[in-house]
Protein backbone atom coordinates (compact mmCIF):
# COMPACT_ATOMS: atom_id res chain seq x y z
CA UNK A 1 0.00 0.00 0.00
CA UNK A 2 1.31 3.41 -0.93
CA UNK A 3 1.99 5.71 1.94
CA UNK A 4 1.46 9.42 1.66
CA UNK A 5 2.52 11.96 4.27
CA UNK A 6 -0.28 13.25 6.35
CA UNK A 7 -1.02 16.90 7.05
CA UNK A 8 1.10 17.68 10.12
CA UNK A 9 -1.11 20.55 11.09
CA UNK A 10 -3.91 18.15 11.92
CA UNK A 11 -3.70 17.46 15.57
CA UNK A 12 -1.55 16.99 17.47
CA UNK A 13 -0.14 17.19 20.89
CA UNK A 14 -2.59 20.03 21.19
CA UNK A 15 -5.51 18.20 22.67
CA UNK A 16 -7.59 20.60 24.66
CA UNK A 17 -7.33 20.31 28.42
CA UNK A 18 -10.96 19.33 28.64
CA UNK A 19 -10.36 16.58 26.16
CA UNK A 20 -7.37 15.42 28.16
CA UNK A 21 -9.33 15.41 31.40
CA UNK A 22 -12.12 13.44 29.75
CA UNK A 23 -9.56 10.96 28.51
CA UNK A 24 -7.94 10.49 31.87
CA UNK A 25 -11.30 9.95 33.52
CA UNK A 26 -12.32 7.43 30.89
CA UNK A 27 -8.96 5.74 31.19
CA UNK A 28 -9.33 5.32 34.91
CA UNK A 29 -12.72 3.75 34.44
CA UNK A 30 -11.51 1.43 31.74
CA UNK A 31 -8.50 0.41 33.78
CA UNK A 32 -10.73 -0.48 36.69
CA UNK A 33 -12.53 -2.95 34.49
CA UNK A 34 -15.75 -1.05 34.18
CA UNK A 35 -17.24 0.27 30.99
CA UNK A 36 -18.32 3.81 30.31
CA UNK A 37 -22.09 4.14 30.35
CA UNK A 38 -24.82 6.66 30.71
CA UNK A 39 -27.02 6.35 33.76
CA UNK A 40 -30.68 7.24 33.78
CA UNK A 41 -31.85 8.34 37.24
CA UNK A 42 -33.81 5.61 38.96
CA UNK A 43 -32.65 2.96 36.55
CA UNK A 44 -30.30 0.23 37.63
CA UNK A 45 -27.08 0.70 35.76
CA UNK A 46 -25.66 -2.33 34.05
CA UNK A 47 -22.42 -2.25 32.14
CA UNK A 48 -22.94 -2.82 28.45
CA UNK A 49 -21.69 -6.13 27.21
CA UNK A 50 -18.54 -6.03 25.20
CA UNK A 51 -18.79 -7.41 21.71
CA UNK A 52 -17.60 -10.98 21.36
CA UNK A 53 -15.13 -9.89 18.75
CA UNK A 54 -13.59 -6.75 17.41
CA UNK A 55 -11.07 -6.25 14.61
CA UNK A 56 -9.84 -2.75 13.85
CA UNK A 57 -8.86 -3.93 10.39
CA UNK A 58 -12.54 -4.35 9.63
CA UNK A 59 -14.59 -2.32 12.06
CA UNK A 60 -17.95 -1.49 10.53
CA UNK A 61 -16.40 -2.16 7.16
CA UNK A 62 -13.43 0.14 7.72
CA UNK A 63 -9.79 -0.46 8.52
CA UNK A 64 -7.98 1.79 10.96
CA UNK A 65 -4.74 -0.15 10.94
CA UNK A 66 -1.83 1.06 8.84
CA UNK A 67 0.38 -1.01 6.58
CA UNK A 68 2.70 -3.66 7.89
CA UNK A 69 6.31 -2.66 8.47
CA UNK A 70 9.49 -4.67 8.75
CA UNK A 71 11.88 -4.32 11.70
CA UNK A 72 14.48 -6.46 9.96
CA UNK A 73 17.09 -8.07 12.16
CA UNK A 74 17.32 -5.15 14.57
CA UNK A 75 15.85 -5.60 18.06
CA UNK A 76 13.59 -2.62 17.50
CA UNK A 77 10.22 -4.24 18.18
CA UNK A 78 9.37 -1.61 20.80
CA UNK A 79 9.57 1.16 18.20
CA UNK A 80 7.45 -0.81 15.73
CA UNK A 81 4.86 -1.92 18.28
CA UNK A 82 4.50 1.60 19.69
CA UNK A 83 4.31 3.31 16.30
CA UNK A 84 1.76 0.81 15.00
CA UNK A 85 -0.39 1.55 18.04
CA UNK A 86 -0.09 5.31 17.63
CA UNK A 87 -0.90 5.18 13.93
CA UNK A 88 -3.96 2.98 14.47
CA UNK A 89 -5.14 5.10 17.40
CA UNK A 90 -4.88 8.21 15.27
CA UNK A 91 -7.03 6.80 12.51
CA UNK A 92 -9.66 5.45 14.90
CA UNK A 93 -9.87 8.40 17.30
CA UNK A 94 -9.98 10.89 14.44
CA UNK A 95 -12.44 8.67 12.57
CA UNK A 96 -10.23 8.59 9.53
CA UNK A 97 -10.47 5.08 8.15
CA UNK A 98 -7.63 4.01 5.91
CA UNK A 99 -8.12 4.57 2.24
CA UNK A 100 -9.97 7.01 0.05
CA UNK A 101 -9.44 10.58 1.15
CA UNK A 102 -7.55 9.60 4.28
CA UNK A 103 -3.84 9.09 3.73
CA UNK A 104 -2.09 6.71 6.08
CA UNK A 105 -0.24 8.19 8.98
CA UNK A 106 3.31 6.90 8.60
CA UNK A 107 5.62 7.63 11.52
CA UNK A 108 9.31 6.93 11.68
CA UNK A 109 10.19 3.90 13.78
CA UNK A 110 13.84 4.57 13.00
CA UNK A 111 13.66 8.03 14.55
CA UNK A 112 11.97 6.71 17.67
CA UNK A 113 14.51 3.92 17.98
CA UNK A 114 17.44 6.29 17.58
CA UNK A 115 16.30 9.09 19.86
CA UNK A 116 14.02 7.87 22.63
CA UNK A 117 15.71 7.29 25.99
CA UNK A 118 17.30 5.38 27.55
CA UNK A 119 20.25 5.89 25.23
CA UNK A 120 22.60 4.79 23.82
CA UNK A 121 20.89 1.89 22.09
CA UNK A 122 21.97 -0.41 19.34
CA UNK A 123 20.29 -3.24 17.56
CA UNK A 124 21.64 -5.85 19.96
CA UNK A 125 20.08 -4.24 23.02
CA UNK A 126 16.49 -5.18 23.41
CA UNK A 127 15.68 -4.15 26.95
CA UNK A 128 13.52 -1.21 25.99
CA UNK A 129 10.05 -1.05 27.44
CA UNK A 130 7.21 0.83 25.73
CA UNK A 131 6.80 3.29 28.60
CA UNK A 132 9.95 5.20 27.77
CA UNK A 133 9.16 5.20 24.04
CA UNK A 134 5.65 6.52 24.73
CA UNK A 135 6.98 9.20 27.05
CA UNK A 136 9.20 10.38 24.21
CA UNK A 137 6.20 10.46 21.87
CA UNK A 138 4.38 12.66 24.37
CA UNK A 139 7.24 15.04 25.06
CA UNK A 140 9.00 15.24 21.72
CA UNK A 141 7.04 13.40 19.09
CA UNK A 142 8.03 11.35 16.09
CA UNK A 143 8.40 12.68 12.55
CA UNK A 144 6.42 11.35 9.67
CA UNK A 145 7.94 9.58 6.71
CA UNK A 146 9.02 11.10 4.48
CA UNK A 147 10.14 13.84 6.82
CA UNK A 148 7.45 16.36 7.62
CA UNK A 149 7.90 19.71 9.31
CA UNK A 150 6.42 18.98 12.70
CA UNK A 151 6.86 15.87 14.83
CA UNK A 152 3.72 13.96 15.66
CA UNK A 153 2.99 14.00 19.39
CA UNK A 154 0.52 12.01 21.40
CA UNK A 155 -1.46 13.47 24.28
CA UNK A 156 -1.19 10.70 26.85
CA UNK A 157 -0.53 7.05 27.51
CA UNK A 158 -2.59 4.68 29.63
CA UNK A 159 -1.43 1.50 31.36
CA UNK A 160 -4.17 -1.11 31.07
CA UNK A 161 -2.71 -3.84 33.27
CA UNK A 162 -4.73 -4.16 36.47
CA UNK A 163 -3.97 -6.26 39.52
CA UNK A 164 -6.66 -8.74 38.50
CA UNK A 165 -5.91 -10.35 35.10
CA UNK A 166 -9.59 -10.52 34.21
CA UNK A 167 -9.90 -6.78 34.77
CA UNK A 168 -6.96 -6.26 32.46
CA UNK A 169 -8.62 -8.25 29.70
CA UNK A 170 -11.85 -6.30 30.11
CA UNK A 171 -9.95 -3.02 30.00
CA UNK A 172 -8.05 -4.10 26.90
CA UNK A 173 -11.17 -5.18 25.04
CA UNK A 174 -12.97 -2.00 26.02
CA UNK A 175 -10.10 0.16 24.86
CA UNK A 176 -9.61 -1.64 21.57
CA UNK A 177 -13.24 -1.48 20.56
CA UNK A 178 -13.99 2.05 21.76
CA UNK A 179 -13.77 4.78 19.13
CA UNK A 180 -11.83 6.84 21.67
CA UNK A 181 -9.33 4.05 22.14
CA UNK A 182 -7.68 1.88 19.53
CA UNK A 183 -4.96 -0.72 19.28
CA UNK A 184 -2.75 -1.32 22.29
CA UNK A 185 0.96 -1.95 22.64
CA UNK A 186 1.75 -5.13 24.54
CA UNK A 187 4.85 -6.92 25.76
CA UNK A 188 4.90 -10.69 25.48
CA UNK A 189 7.30 -13.39 26.62
CA UNK A 190 9.09 -14.57 23.52
CA UNK A 191 10.04 -18.20 22.99
CA UNK A 192 11.80 -19.50 19.94
CA UNK A 193 8.69 -21.32 18.79
CA UNK A 194 6.97 -17.97 18.16
CA UNK A 195 9.14 -17.32 15.13
CA UNK A 196 8.65 -20.89 13.97
CA UNK A 197 4.86 -20.52 14.27
CA UNK A 198 4.80 -18.01 11.44
CA UNK A 199 7.27 -19.56 9.02
CA UNK A 200 6.18 -21.43 5.89
CA UNK A 201 2.62 -20.19 6.07
CA UNK A 202 2.34 -19.34 2.40
CA UNK A 203 1.32 -15.98 1.04
CA UNK A 204 -1.83 -13.94 1.03
CA UNK A 205 -3.74 -11.43 3.08
CA UNK A 206 -5.97 -13.66 5.15
CA UNK A 207 -5.14 -14.58 8.74
CA UNK A 208 -3.70 -17.90 9.75
CA UNK A 209 -6.46 -19.25 11.96
CA UNK A 210 -4.29 -21.25 14.36
CA UNK A 211 -3.90 -19.63 17.76
CA UNK A 212 -0.39 -19.25 19.15
CA UNK A 213 0.58 -20.24 22.65
CA UNK A 214 4.11 -21.22 23.69
CA UNK A 215 4.63 -24.95 23.18
CA UNK A 216 2.04 -25.03 20.39
CA UNK A 217 3.84 -27.84 18.57
CA UNK A 218 3.67 -30.99 20.74
CA UNK A 219 6.24 -32.70 18.54
CA UNK A 220 8.85 -29.98 18.88
CA UNK A 221 11.38 -29.70 21.72
CA UNK A 222 10.36 -27.55 24.65
CA UNK A 223 10.58 -23.97 23.42
CA UNK A 224 13.57 -21.92 24.48
CA UNK A 225 12.98 -18.71 26.41
CA UNK A 226 14.48 -15.78 24.50
CA UNK A 227 13.22 -12.66 26.26
CA UNK A 228 10.51 -10.17 25.42
CA UNK A 229 8.79 -8.95 22.29
CA UNK A 230 6.50 -5.99 21.63
CA UNK A 231 3.53 -6.14 19.30
CA UNK A 232 0.38 -4.11 18.67
CA UNK A 233 -2.96 -5.73 19.47
CA UNK A 234 -5.57 -4.64 16.95
CA UNK A 235 -8.50 -6.87 17.85
CA UNK A 236 -9.79 -9.88 19.68
CA UNK A 237 -12.15 -12.83 19.52
CA UNK A 238 -13.77 -13.99 22.72
CA UNK A 239 -16.45 -16.51 21.89
CA UNK A 240 -17.08 -20.20 21.42
CA UNK A 241 -14.87 -19.90 18.35
CA UNK A 242 -11.89 -19.09 20.51
CA UNK A 243 -10.33 -16.62 22.89
CA UNK A 244 -7.42 -14.78 21.36
CA UNK A 245 -5.90 -11.43 20.56
CA UNK A 246 -5.34 -10.34 16.95
CA UNK A 247 -1.82 -8.96 16.90
CA UNK A 248 0.14 -6.97 14.35
CA UNK A 249 3.76 -8.07 14.23
CA UNK A 250 6.70 -6.44 12.44
CA UNK A 251 8.50 -9.44 11.02
CA UNK A 252 9.17 -10.58 7.51
CA UNK A 253 10.60 -13.88 6.37
CA UNK A 254 12.39 -15.09 3.25
CA UNK A 255 11.59 -13.52 -0.11
CA UNK A 256 10.26 -10.41 1.63
CA UNK A 257 7.08 -12.19 2.64
CA UNK A 258 5.30 -11.14 5.85
CA UNK A 259 5.77 -13.56 8.73
CA UNK A 260 2.75 -15.79 9.37
CA UNK A 261 1.39 -15.15 5.88
CA UNK A 262 0.12 -11.62 6.42
CA UNK A 263 2.13 -10.38 9.40
CA UNK A 264 -0.70 -10.85 11.89
CA UNK A 265 -0.99 -13.55 14.52
CA UNK A 266 -3.68 -14.78 16.87
CA UNK A 267 -2.32 -15.15 20.41
CA UNK A 268 -4.20 -17.01 23.12
CA UNK A 269 -5.80 -14.87 25.83
CA UNK A 270 -4.36 -15.52 29.30
CA UNK A 271 -1.91 -17.93 27.74
CA UNK A 272 1.71 -18.62 28.50
CA UNK A 273 2.93 -15.71 26.37
CA UNK A 274 1.65 -13.34 29.09
CA UNK A 275 0.77 -10.88 26.33
CA UNK A 276 -2.17 -9.58 28.36
CA UNK A 277 -0.50 -9.48 31.77
CA UNK A 278 2.87 -7.73 31.70
CA UNK A 279 2.73 -4.30 30.12
CA UNK A 280 -0.15 -3.08 27.96
CA UNK A 281 -0.56 0.54 26.86
CA UNK A 282 -3.22 2.49 25.07
CA UNK A 283 -2.54 5.95 23.70
CA UNK A 284 -4.59 9.10 23.35
CA UNK A 285 -3.94 11.22 20.33
Amino acid sequence: MTRRPIDPTVDLGQAANADRRRFLKTSAILASGLAVRSIVPGEAAAPPALPASCDLRAKNGNSYITSLKNQGTCHSCTAFGVVATIEGSYHLQKQKPIGGANPELNLSEADLFAKAPPLPRDCNVDHWWPRSALDYCIATGVPQEPAASAPFKIAAKQQLVASNPNDTITAMKSWICDDNGGPVTAVMVEYDDFLAFGVNRGTGTNDVTDVYDPGWDPHAPRPRLLGGHVISIVGYEDSHNGRYWICKNSWYVANNQPWNRNGYVRIKMKGDSYVDRIDVWGVKI
Binding site: R131, V161, V189, R222, L225
Partner: protein, 156 residues
Protein backbone atom coordinates in the same frame (compact mmCIF):
# COMPACT_ATOMS: atom_id res chain seq x y z
CA UNK B 1 17.90 -9.66 34.53
CA UNK B 2 17.02 -6.52 36.36
CA UNK B 3 18.07 -4.77 39.51
CA UNK B 4 14.42 -4.68 40.47
CA UNK B 5 14.57 -8.35 41.41
CA UNK B 6 16.59 -7.74 44.56
CA UNK B 7 13.49 -8.24 46.69
CA UNK B 8 12.84 -11.61 45.09
CA UNK B 9 16.47 -12.58 45.69
CA UNK B 10 16.10 -11.69 49.36
CA UNK B 11 13.04 -13.93 49.66
CA UNK B 12 14.73 -16.82 47.91
CA UNK B 13 17.87 -16.43 49.98
CA UNK B 14 15.75 -16.73 53.12
CA UNK B 15 14.35 -20.02 51.86
CA UNK B 16 17.80 -21.32 50.98
CA UNK B 17 19.10 -20.30 54.42
CA UNK B 18 16.61 -22.52 56.24
CA UNK B 19 17.43 -26.19 55.80
CA UNK B 20 13.82 -27.31 56.18
CA UNK B 21 12.48 -24.75 53.73
CA UNK B 22 15.35 -25.50 51.38
CA UNK B 23 14.38 -29.17 51.43
CA UNK B 24 10.80 -28.30 50.54
CA UNK B 25 12.01 -26.09 47.75
CA UNK B 26 14.17 -28.92 46.46
CA UNK B 27 11.19 -31.27 46.50
CA UNK B 28 9.15 -28.76 44.50
CA UNK B 29 12.00 -28.35 42.05
CA UNK B 30 12.36 -32.09 41.50
CA UNK B 31 8.61 -32.52 41.24
CA UNK B 32 8.57 -30.06 38.36
CA UNK B 33 11.91 -30.72 36.71
CA UNK B 34 12.75 -34.31 37.63
CA UNK B 35 15.21 -35.76 40.14
CA UNK B 36 18.19 -34.57 38.13
CA UNK B 37 16.55 -31.36 36.86
CA UNK B 38 16.71 -32.53 33.28
CA UNK B 39 13.03 -33.43 32.92
CA UNK B 40 11.67 -36.86 32.09
CA UNK B 41 8.19 -38.36 31.79
CA UNK B 42 5.74 -35.69 32.88
CA UNK B 43 8.57 -33.35 33.89
CA UNK B 44 9.97 -30.29 32.19
CA UNK B 45 13.74 -29.71 31.94
CA UNK B 46 14.89 -26.88 34.13
CA UNK B 47 16.01 -23.61 32.62
CA UNK B 48 16.52 -20.34 34.43
CA UNK B 49 13.25 -18.59 35.20
CA UNK B 50 11.09 -21.66 34.72
CA UNK B 51 11.23 -22.83 38.34
CA UNK B 52 10.45 -19.56 40.05
CA UNK B 53 7.64 -18.71 37.64
CA UNK B 54 5.14 -20.77 39.62
CA UNK B 55 7.01 -21.46 42.86
CA UNK B 56 5.33 -20.69 46.16
CA UNK B 57 7.41 -19.78 49.19
CA UNK B 58 7.12 -22.82 51.49
CA UNK B 59 7.12 -20.63 54.59
CA UNK B 60 4.11 -18.60 53.49
CA UNK B 61 2.55 -20.71 50.71
CA UNK B 62 2.35 -17.50 48.69
CA UNK B 63 3.64 -17.35 45.12
CA UNK B 64 7.07 -15.78 44.98
CA UNK B 65 5.99 -13.80 41.93
CA UNK B 66 2.70 -12.09 41.20
CA UNK B 67 1.04 -12.82 37.88
CA UNK B 68 2.46 -9.68 36.32
CA UNK B 69 5.90 -10.29 37.83
CA UNK B 70 5.95 -13.79 36.34
CA UNK B 71 5.77 -12.43 32.83
CA UNK B 72 8.36 -9.77 33.48
CA UNK B 73 10.63 -12.28 35.20
CA UNK B 74 10.42 -14.60 32.21
CA UNK B 75 11.23 -11.74 29.86
CA UNK B 76 14.26 -10.87 31.97
CA UNK B 77 15.30 -14.50 32.20
CA UNK B 78 15.48 -14.92 28.42
CA UNK B 79 18.75 -15.86 26.81
CA UNK B 80 18.97 -12.55 24.94
CA UNK B 81 19.33 -10.68 28.20
CA UNK B 82 22.20 -12.79 29.49
CA UNK B 83 25.81 -13.40 28.93
CA UNK B 84 25.50 -17.01 27.77
CA UNK B 85 28.29 -18.48 29.89
CA UNK B 86 26.83 -16.83 32.99
CA UNK B 87 23.40 -18.22 32.27
CA UNK B 88 24.76 -21.71 31.81
CA UNK B 89 26.71 -21.47 35.05
CA UNK B 90 23.65 -20.33 37.00
CA UNK B 91 21.49 -23.10 35.59
CA UNK B 92 24.11 -25.69 36.46
CA UNK B 93 24.50 -24.39 40.00
CA UNK B 94 20.76 -24.24 40.72
CA UNK B 95 20.20 -27.66 39.21
CA UNK B 96 23.09 -29.25 41.10
CA UNK B 97 22.26 -27.64 44.43
CA UNK B 98 18.59 -28.57 44.41
CA UNK B 99 19.17 -32.15 43.26
CA UNK B 100 22.24 -32.97 45.35
CA UNK B 101 22.06 -36.51 46.69
CA UNK B 102 22.65 -37.41 50.30
CA UNK B 103 21.07 -37.30 53.72
CA UNK B 104 18.44 -39.61 55.16
CA UNK B 105 15.75 -38.36 52.79
CA UNK B 106 17.88 -39.10 49.76
CA UNK B 107 18.54 -35.47 48.89
CA UNK B 108 20.69 -32.88 50.60
CA UNK B 109 20.02 -29.55 48.95
CA UNK B 110 22.87 -27.07 49.11
CA UNK B 111 22.46 -23.46 50.10
CA UNK B 112 22.67 -20.69 47.48
CA UNK B 113 23.06 -16.98 48.17
CA UNK B 114 22.03 -14.62 45.39
CA UNK B 115 23.24 -11.04 45.20
CA UNK B 116 22.10 -8.58 42.55
CA UNK B 117 23.91 -5.37 41.68
CA UNK B 118 23.53 -2.88 38.86
CA UNK B 119 26.16 -1.78 36.39
CA UNK B 120 25.17 1.48 34.65
CA UNK B 121 27.03 0.42 31.53
CA UNK B 122 25.75 -3.14 31.32
CA UNK B 123 23.41 -4.14 28.51
CA UNK B 124 23.18 -7.80 29.50
CA UNK B 125 23.19 -9.56 32.84
CA UNK B 126 26.19 -11.62 33.85
CA UNK B 127 26.94 -13.68 36.93
CA UNK B 128 29.81 -15.10 38.88
CA UNK B 129 29.27 -18.47 40.55
CA UNK B 130 31.59 -19.22 43.45
CA UNK B 131 31.65 -22.16 45.83
CA UNK B 132 32.20 -20.94 49.39
CA UNK B 133 33.59 -23.61 51.73
CA UNK B 134 32.20 -24.29 55.18
CA UNK B 135 33.68 -22.60 58.18
CA UNK B 136 33.53 -23.49 61.83
CA UNK B 137 30.30 -21.55 62.18
CA UNK B 138 28.70 -21.60 58.74
CA UNK B 139 27.79 -24.25 56.20
CA UNK B 140 29.19 -24.28 52.70
CA UNK B 141 27.17 -22.51 50.06
CA UNK B 142 27.18 -21.38 46.46
CA UNK B 143 27.41 -17.66 45.82
CA UNK B 144 25.70 -16.41 42.66
CA UNK B 145 26.57 -12.75 42.19
CA UNK B 146 24.50 -11.20 39.40
CA UNK B 147 25.38 -7.89 37.77
CA UNK B 148 22.66 -6.46 35.55
CA UNK B 149 21.74 -3.36 33.53
CA UNK B 150 20.29 -0.43 35.48
CA UNK B 151 16.64 -0.08 36.39
CA UNK B 152 15.98 2.53 33.77
CA UNK B 153 16.65 0.01 31.03
CA UNK B 154 15.03 -3.01 32.52
CA UNK B 155 11.91 -1.97 34.38
CA UNK B 156 8.62 -1.46 32.56
Amino acid sequence: MAGGWSGIATNINAVFADKNLRGRMGAAFRNKHGDDGHGGPGKVPYSFGRFLEDFSNPSTSNPVLTDRQRGQFLVDSGTRHWDQASLANIETAVRNNLTRRGGPAGFDEKKIVFTINEDPKATQARATVTEIPATATAEAYTSIAIVCPPHVRTDP
